[in-house]
């Protein structure tokens, strides 16, 4: 006689129930805090929503056309393209150089790795304030002005507020470089450790000399997937830039005259949605930005062959 086991006691059913019970909190969390806000934001972008996040007052594509015809928003898109054009190649080159140097260091490799990685753990806001108030303030005793003085210059530069020449790009770019180069260096280090040492040995046997030739013909090609990932992550992070622009140029409370010098889309959308309380236009702008990021990512993926077999 066989004992009839209730279906919920069968091991596979029980395992399934356990799976769903254990994974449910995460799925519910994702749904409530990630997917639902995205859907709600999309609905808001088609609504007139001022001082309100209620949907229903549908305005079709008007918020989108308003944002696209807004010269300040278009200028912000141009600003972020310029910033990306600076920051992505610089971060890529510097983190790769650092990774190669650390990888080939004959001593103290963990120390160098840690030292270069530490800035990643620093808040963007804190770093921005240090850059604005400490390194690049416009006073004679500001660090950057002191450096100029040591080199014999008597000029006291206003690094953040000068439009011609635009020194503020130096401040913004160096701040982000310092913060993120360590992180991408770690990615490259992981990639470097994956390269089979025998490839180098074989090239030496064939007469190649260690240095630029092996770097160009072995290291770089073998790092292709890592490189594409670094560029992709870096590119998305650059398009989402907010903190350093807001904190370095914004100046806080009632001083916003410098923000117009270089205002990325997220800062402008923050002004529209949170400052002006226009959630409809703010959401529309956010989806335009998302579309731009997706298009650039796909184009970049096609060019660099992201996901293609090595």
């Amino acid at each position: 006689m066989t004992v009839r086991v209730p279906f919920w006691r069968r091991s596979n059913v029980e395992a399934n129930i356990a799976f769903w019970v254990l994974i449910a909190p995460m799925l519910i969390g994702l749904g409530v805090f990630v997917f639902w806000p995205i859907v709600w934001g999309l609905l808001l972008s088609f609504s007139e929503a001022r001082n309100s996040i209620s949907i229903g007052h549908w305005v079709g594509w008007r918020n989108y056309s308003d944002m696209l015809s807004d010269s300040a928003f278009r200028k912000s898109l141009l600003t972020i393209v310029i910033f990306t054009a600076f920051i992505v190649p610089l971060t890529f080159a510097l983190s790769l150089v650092l990774a190669v140097l650390v990888h080939t260091a004959s001593f103290g490799r963990p120390i160098f790795r840690t030292v270069f990685f530490i800035p990643t753990a620093i808040s963007y806001v804190v770093a921005s304030l240090v850059w604005r108030m400490g390194f690049f303030n416009g006073l004679p005793y500001g660090f950057a002005n002191m450096v100029l003085y040591w080199f014999g210059s008597s000029k006291v530069l206003d690094w953040i507020g000068t439009a011609h020449p635009p020194y503020y790009w130096l401040v913004l770019v160096t701040c982000r470089l310092w913060l993120q180069v360590g992180f991408y260096m770690i990615l490259f280090l992981a990639g470097l450790q994956e390269i089979d040492q025998s490839l180098y040995e074989a090239s030496w046997v064939d007469g190649a000399t260690p240095g630029w030739t092996t770097f160009r013909t072995i290291t770089l090609p073998m790092l292709r997937n890592t490189s594409v990932a670094v560029i992709l992550l870096n590119f998305i992070a650059a398009f989402q830039a907010f903190d350093e622009f807001y904190n370095i140029l914004g100046g806080g409370l009632a001083t916003s005259g410098n923000v117009g010098l270089a205002r990325p889309p997220l800062v402008y959308l923050y002004q529209v949605a949170i400052g002006q309380q226009d959630y409809g236009r703010g959401s529309a702008g956010a989806f335009i930005l998302v579309a731009a990021i997706i298009i650039f990512t796909i184009v970049q993926g096609r060019i660099f062959g992201f996901g293609r077999r090595s």
Binding site: M133, G251, A254, S256, G260
Partner: protein, 433 residues
């Protein structure tokens, strides 16, 4: 194997082995307990037959303000035992936190802010006309009431008035035989004369005064921004004032890149700038730092046809239209900011320096009866200007961007002002729709 592992883990964490089912049961019980505890707390206040009001303040910088706000709330409960006031001191970005809270049903009942047309439309504030008897209304400066009036209804009660002053060193001016500036050109010449390498002539903020003088400059040329629901700033005089600001920036006499901004007096007290535009609120700090060696003047007239000006700022109390206890909230606002002259004077004068909005309270406020403080209070009444509630943040951003283009990028002032006016007109049409 997996199951065994689970049990071992349970043994490590608890005294008795715990099954997966037991773990889930305990989690459900614990979650329910948390939810019940929250509900219980809410029910406790309701069960007592008490009304609970939540009142939000932004974080005032002056020592003692938080304790004072708490004290007022407790005094009210003492006088009205059925009302409990939960005073919330919001540190950080107050406006953002408030805006977010006002979107929900769980926002504060009473809060500090300034009414706007959009807030009224969204039901985030209620008219407080019934708190203003003719006598009470007559005791507020009409300019002050203008900032709280939308479509003929008053939506706030002013708590404190703030204003700006141009601070300069008395002794330095006397030694050099200088006089306070009467026109914008005077101010520019003074800034150049007092500019001495390490001490700059004038500090108007790190953006070269764009934010601080955005409205002051056209006002000083007798221009305005929004009158009777019309944008009126697209004039040659307005453009000329912003060209003046560009000249001042190009003169090299302005301090920019200071660690603090125009609302903080450090640049003036630490000798980074000889003159500074900042608020009356900074006067106690300046006095503490440099004694009586300072005097003030309003923002000078732009030219011989202009007028001296200063801004009429401050904070006002409003009642949330989504509050469940609107009448109780209004009664509390009336008690604190209309009836209670002692607390109003305490709030305005015992910590920082502000002008009490009630004319009667300001007249009997001893610290405002002499010296630069009296002059600042008088200037506020004589020259104080404010933008109407219809002037919103989007318009401010459009004009700031235009002036930034003129001052920083050397763009044509008339073209930029015209473009900003067009943007503001579109915004106004949208606002009024």
């Amino acid at each position: 194997m997996q199951r065994d592992h689970g049990n071992r883990m349970g043994q490590g964490l608890f005294r008795r082995p715990m099954s997966r089912r037991g773990f889930v049961q305990r989690m459900i019980v614990a979650g329910g307990a948390v939810v019940y505890a929250g509900a219980e707390n809410y029910n406790y206040v309701a069960a007592q037959g008490k009304i609970k009001l939540t009142q939000w303040y932004h974080q005032y910088g002056e020592a003692g303000t938080q304790q004072a706000a708490q004290r007022y709330a407790q005094e009210y409960t003492k006088a009205n035992p059925n009302v409990e006031v939960d005073m919330v001191w919001k540190a950080g970005d107050y406006t953002t936190a408030l805006n977010a809270a006002l979107l929900t049903a769980a926002g504060p009942d009473v809060y500090e802010g300034s009414p706007t047309v959009a807030m009224v439309k969204a039901g985030q504030c209620v008219p407080l006309d019934d708190l203003y008897t003719p006598e009470v209304k007559a005791d507020f400066n009409p300019t002050n009431l203008k900032g709280e009036t939308i479509n003929g209804h008053i939506y706030a009660v002013k708590m404190i008035d703030d204003t700006g002053c141009l601070y300069y060193r008395k002794k330095q001016f006397a030694d050099k035989g200088l006089k306070p500036p009467a026109t914008f050109d005077d101010l520019m010449n003074l800034a150049k004369e007092l500019n001495s390498g390490r001490t700059k002539g004038l500090f108007l903020g790190n953006d070269g005064g764009i934010s601080a003088t955005l409205t002051l400059l056209p006002w000083s040329a007798k221009q305005d921004f929004l009158v009777d629901n019309k944008i009126v700033f697209n004039t040659p005089q307005t453009a000329a004032t912003y060209e003046g600001l560009k000249k001042l920036n190009d003169s090299g006499a302005l301090l920019t890149g200071s660690p603090t901004d125009w609302f903080d007096p450090s640049a003036f007290t630490q000798g980074l700038a000889a003159m500074q535009w900042t608020g009356l609120w900074a006067m106690p700090g300046i006095k503490k730092a440099i004694g009586d060696d300072f005097d003030i003047t309003p923002w000078p007239a732009f030219d011989a046809n202009g007028t001296p000006v200063t801004f009429w700022g401050g904070w006002a109390e409003m009642v949330n239209g989504k509050s469940k206890n609107i009448d109780a909230a209004k009664a509390f606002v009336k008690w604190l900011w209309i009836d209670n002259a002692t607390n109003q004077k305490d709030w305005a004068l015992s910590y920082g320096f502000h002008v009490p909005p009630r004319i009667s309270a300001a007249k009997s406020a001893t610290p405002l009866q002499s010296g630069p403080a009296k002059e600042a209070a008088d200037n506020l009444n004589k020259y104080g200007k404010l933008t109407p509630p219809e002037w919103d943040t989007a318009m401010g951003t459009a004009l700031t961007d235009a002036v930034s283009n003129i001052v920083k990028n050397g763009k044509d002032a008339a073209t930029e002002v015209a473009a900003a006016a067009k943007k503001c007109e579109e915004e106004l049409t949208r606002e009024m729709a």
